[in-house]
């Protein structure tokens, strides 16, 4: 346990977590997202599942904007990936540097860093309003689904207003009846260009 009361993962016991096969599978998922046309009828989720997944996204946005990061962290599975690439071409994370490529442990470290009171990049913290729209959901197995959405994050850092925009790709899994994030890939539309302070949580 950290002083925040959040869990501390030291070594994950998830199999193949962040090994080369995992990287290849992640790259393949992104390739499919980028190539996706009209969603096949067979992959359209039941309306109740679509609605439940939308609720998860809206909950995420609400927790992020309120700075409730320990609760936000609880929305991610033990084998989660939070991925912010530097490229817009879908590069292989085993060979391409990213802005952030977090496993569960690294995501916990980030939340802990922001809570130290000494994270000068977030003193004062960036205020955010996360808007999610164009939400599309696809089934990917009995208890797994993929989600694509557009995001606009309106921010204010110490009086300076700016926006972040792009699309998110999520893999979500139903765990004990509740949908949780397995992968969140944040595709800034200008990830390969100079970035302002992105040390808040996108």
């Amino acid at each position: 346990m950290s002083t925040l009361g959040t869990r501390r993962t030291i070594v994950s016991d998830a199999p193949d977590y962040f090994d080369l096969r995992h990287y290849a599978a992640l790259a393949e998922t992104v390739r499919q997202w980028r190539a996706l046309g009209e969603i096949p009828i067979g992959r359209v989720p039941a309306p109740a599942d679509h609605a439940a997944i939308c609720r998860l996204l809206f909950l995420e946005a609400r927790l992020l904007d309120a700075g409730r990061l320990p609760e936000w962290l609880d929305l991610f599975t033990d084998d989660c990936v939070y991925w912010l690439p530097t490229d817009v071409d879908g590069g292989d994370p085993a060979q391409t540097v990213t802005w952030e490529m977090n496993d569960r442990r690294r995501l916990e470290e980030r939340v802990e860093r922001l809570a130290t009171g000494r994270a000068f990049s977030q003193a004062p913290p960036t205020r955010t309003v996360h808007l999610y729209s164009n939400i599309e959901t696809l089934t990917a197995g009995a208890d797994t689904a993929h989600v694509l959405c557009q995001f606009l994050i309106h921010t204010n850092l110490d009086g300076r207003v700016s926006q972040r925009a792009g699309w998110n790709g999520y893999v979500v899994r139903r765990v004990e009846g509740l949908w949780r994030f397995v992968v969140k890939r944040i595709n800034l539309f200008d990830a390969d260009m100079p970035q302002n302070n992105n040390s808040f949580t996108l």
Partner: protein
């Protein structure tokens, strides 16, 4: 030893910006000084424009800059390199608008003046209108008159009157060798993506910080605290109470180049063992041990852990850990900091994947806080006209500097030696004036 020269050099048009142990805020806030730097400082010395591995094939090119000058670095058919000013000789437009690619010629979008990738003008539509005396070859793209590379690092100079690159690199050459010769000297490849940070501060604040061994335990408290609480005595925890006594040092490499050397602390035993965790650490280490045996696997991992060097090459190239950092000044108070990641040619994929994750570590856990400091300093320097002077005096009067075993001048890690060396070189070049 050159660090006192800034204090003793008399006269010159920039003399009013210097006094013993201090530099004037105009170096960071004056648009006029900035404009002069872009013209003279970047016009009269060697400037890094990229790495040869970024242009692996004939006719590859990439856009870069020399100060504010847009340039195209090209690899010609015969493998040689050229650095062309990306400015149509006709009206000034860019002739290349693509960050990188492969092309034998560049055609200006405005009136279709066309140049080959050595810069020769090879086509002008409706040329007859310029008269019979017109010479196409008098309209070649301007080329940087000097281009040399050192073990893959390409430098260009807008002035013919510079010493050979290796002479300019001085003591930085051997440090670059040491950086390149890790892991048996497998070639370093710079084709694995980059991070571009926009910093609302003068470009030199970034350089000042790369050589600043005084700030880590303070500016990086958040990072150090999280890692210490989780993982104990891992890397960078050697910035203890009196870190000037730790085996860490600041070094003058000549011609404005300097280094923070953390290797004596970081690489004393296994740097990999001391490295705090990164995603995939255990699983990739295990895969390497299974394939290569523990001894060889751990040696490869040690050689790919951060280098423990901050090698600062005048005026805007910083080699930090395993990354190549390039400062691109945009305006007096705006800078793009480009972090190029590196891999090793022929290394196991687990090594390069580990390198990617390690190279993401400091930028997002440390650099973000530094950037906040640069922007904060910029504001203070700009907005308080009553306080004109910036302190660069640490260890100037303590008498603890001495030659190291390699003959290079060394001072304790928290020294401002790097700033004094830098401004000494800055002044020498800036006092030469405009002509490039």
């Amino acid at each position: 030893m050159t660090d006192m020269d800034v204090l003793t050099l008399d006269g010159g048009r920039f003399a009013h910006l210097f006094r013993p142990g201090f530099v004037h805020r105009d170096l960071y806030v004056s648009p006029a000084v900035f404009a002069q730097e872009m013209r003279t400082l970047f016009g009269r010395t060697w400037v890094y424009v990229g790495h040869e591995s970024e242009l692996p094939a004939p006719n590859d090119f990439m856009m870069r800059s020399i100060g504010r000058r847009p340039v195209i670095v090209t690899r010609l058919d015969d493998g040689t390199l050229a650095v062309l000013l990306n400015r149509c000789t006709h009206r000034g437009a860019l002739v290349c608008r693509t960050a990188r690619g492969n092309a034998r010629r560049f055609t200006c979008g405005y009136h279709a003046w066309t140049y080959d990738n050595a810069g020769r003008c090879i086509g002008i539509p409706l040329k007859h209108a310029y008269g019979d005396a017109f010479r196409t070859d008098a309209n070649n793209l301007l080329r940087a008159p000097r281009v040399e590379s050192y073990r893959g690092f390409i430098f260009a100079s807008m002035s013919e009157a510079v010493p050979p690159l290796v002479a300019h690199l001085a003591g930085a050459r051997q440090m670059l060798d040491q950086w390149l010769d890790r892991d048996g000297g497998r070639p370093v490849v710079v084709r694995n993506g980059e991070m571009q940070f926009l910093t609302h501060a003068n470009w030199k604040t970034v350089y000042d910080n790369a050589g600043d061994g005084y700030h880590p335990p303070f500016s990086h408290t958040s990072m150090l605290r999280v890692f210490a609480e989780r993982y104990g005595d891992v890397d960078m925890q050697y910035y203890s109470e009196n870190f000037d006594e730790a085996p860490l040092l600041s070094k003058d490499l000549g011609n404005g180049h300097t280094m923070l050397d953390q290797r004596p602390a970081m690489h004393a035993q296994s740097a990999w063992a001391r490295q705090h965790v990164q995603p995939g650490r255990e699983v990739l280490e295990k895969a390497l041990v299974d394939q290569y045996g523990a001894e060889r696997a751990l040696r490869m991992l040690d050689d790919s852990t951060g280098s423990g060097m901050n090698l600062n090459i005048f005026p805007n190239l910083l080699i930090i850990g395993n990354q190549i950092q390039l400062l691109e000044p945009q305006a007096v108070n705006r800078t793009v900091v480009r972090w190029f990641s590196t891999s090793l040619e022929g290394a196991p994929p687990e090594i390069n994947a580990t390198r990617m994750r390690m190279q993401e570590d400091f930028p997002s856990f440390g650099e973000v806080d530094d950037t906040a400091q640069f922007e904060s300093c910029q504001r203070g320097m700009e907005d308080v006209p009553e306080l004109e002077w910036i302190d660069i005096s640490r260890h100037m009067r303590t008498g603890v500097g001495r030659p190291d075993a390699d003959g290079l001048w060394r001072e304790p890690i928290s020294s401002d030696l790097h700033l004094r060396c830098y401004y000494d070189a800055w002044r020498r070049i800036m006092e030469q004036g405009d002509a490039s």
